[in-house]
Amino acid sequence: MLSRRALLTLSSGAAAAGISAKSAASQATHTLVVVFQRFAADWLNLLVPAGDPAYGPARPNLAVNTPIPLDSFFGLHPQLAPLKPAYDAGDLAFIAATGWISPELIDRSHFYAQQIMEAGSAPASDGGWLTRFVQQDAAFPSGLWSALAAERSVPNSLQGTSHAIAVADFNRYQHFSVMGDAATNAARDLGVLAEENGQTLVTLCDSLVDAKQNGYGAPTDATYPATRLGGGLQVAAQAIKRGLAPRVITVTSDDDWDTHVNQAARHERSLPSFAQALASFYDDLGDHLNDVTVVTMTEFGRRVRESAGGTDHGTASSMMVMSRRIAGAQVYGTWPGLASDQLWRGQDLRPTTDYRTVLSEILSQHMGLADASLEGVFQSPLVAREHWLSFTL
């Protein structure tokens, strides 16, 4: 019997030749889930370049010495083991050494870097890249839940859409007033009277009625870690499985990424829940994963050389993509090397793939966005097909 991986490797050739396996109809109902690892995850210790001779010496105390092998060069941090089944099934891929090209356009400020990553352009423009995608998406559905921030607030990447909805928890999605729907309706009417200033209130009231009628708080089929990422992915799974037709979903991972000090112990604590949240989502979705793509990003990587038991701010990081529509079980990208003369400014991993190139391939091949619209979303020539890594099916 031909293994799934072998099949995927074959069909990845087809994808590379520009023959997309995904029909236009399913592209129109595909859901994109964007996970932002806030405050700079140290991907050098998540997707470990075990085959790079400069890796161990740069991190005498922090190097991950026994990673789970992924291929002949890369390994996975042992605490990310929950992700391995999805990888082995061909539903998970990594893209190594991603970031901004050219890297001199950003700096090492978390806040500035997050801002322009979410804007998708530097310097940061008004509104985010997901906002511009939604505006240019011919298939954008006409529902309350189409642009869903599965977190406490609407992130910058989605700001500027007039009806993005933020849901941190479906299980308490009601106000509990003794006056019930009458109070909801009155609040909604006040929102309408306040015109533009009332649109969030109107959206909230409409969604309260909709959620109550359709039981969106019902339990899901997997147990999620009690973290922001776990909670957000649970909301995302509820929305997808209950037919709310979300087109884009944002989720925040705040799994203690800013590891200036004490990194080894902090990763031991935070990586299992990070991986388990994604693994739970994977299990929960089942065949829905045919119509869902999860992609992760972080604002920059961390310094190659360790300092004071941790790592300071750096430049390139890596990305992860989860879907049935990818040629998974592979690490994509070009590894720039960790030897001193290979580093960006002598200190940092050099970005070899722009993160917008990765996102563009997904927007085009999974979400069905026309090529002509890609530059409108990212305002960068790096979105063109010639730069794609062909990880999509």
Binding site: R38, F39, D107, R108, S109, H110, G127, T131, Q135, P141, S142, G143, A149, E151, R152, S153, V154, Q159, T161, S162, H163, A164, V167, A168, D169, R172, Y173, H175, F176, S177, V178, M179, A182, A183, N185, A186, A187, D189, L190, G191, V192, L193, A194, E195, E196, N197, G198, T200, L201, T203, L204, S207, D254, H260, V261, S307, A308, G309, G310, D312
Partner: protein, 524 residues
Amino acid sequence: MLSITRRQALKAVGHMAVYASAIGDLTKIAMASAPEALAGDDLDLHLLRRVSFGPTAAELSKVRELGRSAYIDQLLSTRDSGVHAWAVALFPRILEPVQLTYLTTGTGFLTAYHVTDLQNAKIYRAAMSRAQLFEVMVDFWNDHFNTYVRQALVPLTLDFDRDVIRANAMGTFETLLNAVFHSACMQRYLDNSLSTIGAINENYARELMELHTLGQGSGYTEDDVQALAILLSGWQVGQSAVPYAAVSFNASLHDPSAVTFLGHNIAAGATQERAYTALRILVEHPATAQFIARKLCQRFISETPSASAVSIGQTAFTNSGGHIPTVLRALLNSEAFNDSIGSKYKRPIDVVAGTMRAAALNGFDTALGYNPIYPTANPAYQALLNAGAEPFAWVSPDGPPDRRAYWENTNTLLALQQFFVKVSESTAYGRLLTRPGTLLGTGGVLDSLSVASGVARARTPRQAVDNLVQNLLLRSLPAEAMDVLYALQAQGAPLDQQQDAATLSRGAAGVMMAVLSSPWFMVR
């Protein structure tokens, strides 16, 4: 993409199930309906929305009597020892030095009540203190010099809030910055206490320039970050019992290299003077005056303040040696301040404390709603937690944003709605409704003006709504909005027909939720 605007869609489709048609609008909507329309044109109320956690009838009459300028002067020097005593009585751990906490909590177990005392005391003071501008500035500086209360096992934030922020909130910026530098809380939070020769850590150096003084994009370089990290190295935070969390300089751990920092050549040497020199350079840098002035403008005037407003603050900052009350006085008396009416949006703490103030819940009522065994069951705390604004718990050093686009979202609004329902239907409030005279004892003049007594005095649906709106907003609403509320209150009964108290207070609970959820309350 449809060309129909959201406004047209809302008008066209009417009451229910509108969302299905209102989806065409994906353009960023200009604030076509001017915020002033929501805020009205009462500059006295405008002032109270900005210098306090929410207007009350008593404070409004004080502004009317004194005039705005004299009121600002008075408020700048107001402190409230009475509310301080109440806060200490209710939340006694806020006075506890961290050394004692370390000795009494088994080095970090059982510190949950320390954290909740700090958090609940903040809410209590925001709602109750007469020294409103002082509390607003304490909130501002705690956000500006953000730290995270659960960062260390033995929380260092109680001392930080008390001895660094509250002690210096209305002094000079330089004194405040130096106190922050010498705090165990900030040294630990930004990892500077682990930055030593051979293992330099840039975290504090970067954020000190980017977030605390100069501002991102003001011209400093990566080399300046690395130079400052060297100058700040060698500071230690005590880990042993006595004296726990003491901050000291250890010359042997300092990197003594000569560096160039922001154009200043700083000679080699292993002395603590090098850190002080760096702090002085930062305080005196013109970018700092501008950055702090801009941030104060963003807090008190507008998210996008004009260059002229910033320059008023910057000039006052420079001329007064960074004297904070002087800068505030200049900004609050400026034309730009008066022109900014209605341009800000309440953050969750403004909503929660503002609701307690608008509803005239007094100290006694609040104590009734507070359970010392389960301090996190406090509805105000729960609301902030679910809204994404748990006090002292913003993890990253930028501090919680004061931006409308961040806080105006459905999740935050729902958490606040749940709070409005708790307030309007809680036991304490219910008792006030039926017996306002007995439990509002300490409210004094507020008795006759409170929401509870307003509803209790009402005999008809119309009176209940009229009293509620006036008490909560201190002004009227457009007639169409009043009609919505009358209909909710009356539920089909004639508006001017007498109803029993239970029916009236049930309707009033819904009306209160609707009014407080509305943009007319959310405007700041």
